[in-house]
Symmetry: C2
Subunit: 188 residues, 2 copies
DNA sequence: CATTAGATCGAACGTTCGTGCTTTTATATA
DNA sequence: TATATAAAAGCACGAACGTTCGATCTAATG
């Protein structure tokens, strides 16, 4: 009888789930194979065998984070109609997702880390970010917003700002500030 | 004849000037003593002797970046009267300073890097950030802004957002977006 | 039961890092 | 110019990193 999920992929998924959280704290470079293996109580080499290189592990971690983002932010908003309603849902969930990683927003941490390191890792982060901002912009346009690209930028800034301020000061108020500011920007 | 500046402090300042730029690219952890020494064409041990430890080098680098910030952002704005005029000048220069480091805003890079690493380095970054936001807030209050703390947060977010987006996409437009958004928030 | 492929492990490698110790060089003063 | 002091260099270390490799374990197949 063939098992539904093979042992290998199961382990791989467990590794990546932990890797996303660890990278949100330590960054994708600080995400060391030894530490990751220790936390999962397996050997460095056993873990390493699932990925050909550290860079492959980093790319797989980014893909896993993107999947998590899709599940928690994008998919639920697809229930709502295009335009203003979906845009509002996307923005709200976007702000909320920064607290679904143990070290604050995965994307804030990794994009700051790789904004000056050319290579496949940076390319992957950029591609996902552009796709996300493109979706925000598209919904804004459908909603009849005057400057959709600028609105997408402002939402992005407020979410990143709230994440950064909260991480540094612990003040939960900043999420309220960000929420209010976004609300002011959205079409009624 | 006593020289105006001793050789030692002169070298130290040259090191720190380069360290600020390097840290804006590689982060304060990626700022390695070997690389810094190589760029300045001196030996690791010779450079190291100026600081007792890597952490001391990091703290000195932060202090040097703070001095640069004061010179380029704060000091010029002190020419203007308290309140709205000075607030506007501070905001404009705050946005502009992100391009005075070779790797984008030093503070964006380092605060993202240390937001989850307790210790003196993180403490120093936080203290300087709080002082800066406090100054923005104070000027906003004098200018009669209704929610000074929220305004300071929004300016901070827009500047950090523009820095991040520009670093990742190369689109200079984002600075225009940020400038417009800030302008909308300031008292006329 | 014997075979085999995939998953995991333990040990070791070459490299890079921060750091300490000793020596040499440069600089300022008498 | 000679001397004392500060600055820089040379060299080596221990630790941690990514990576490799051969061995061991597990589980399904004939």
């Amino acid at each position: 009888m063939t098992p539904v999920t093979e042992k290998g992929t199961e382990t791989r998924e467990a590794i990546l789930d932990r890797a996303v959280d660890l990278a949100s704290v330590e960054g994708l470079e600080g995400l060391t194979i030894g530490r990751l293996a220790a936390e999962l109580q397996m050997s460095k080499s056993g873990l390493f065998a699932h990925f050909g290189s550290k860079q492959d592990l980093q790319l797989a971690t980014i893909a896993a984070a993107a999947a998590r983002f899709k599940t928690t932010v994008v998919d639920p908003a697809l229930e709502l109609p295009d335009g203003a309603p979906r845009l509002r849902a996307l923005a709200e969930r976007y702000l909320a997702q920064v607290n679904t990683y143990s070290g604050g927003c995965f994307w804030a941490a990794t994009s700051a880390e790789y904004d000056d390191r050319p290579g496949p890792v940076r390319d992957a982060i950029i591609a996902l970010l552009e796709a996300w901002l493109g979706e925000l912009e598209r919904q804004a346009r459908i909603a009849g917003v005057e400057h959709p690209e600028r609105l997408a930028f402002e939402i992005y800034s407020l979410v990143m700002g709230a994440n950064a301020r909260y991480r540094l000061s612990g003040e939960e108020r900043v999420f309220e500030y960000a929420r209010e500011a976004v609300e002011r920007l959205l079409p009624s």
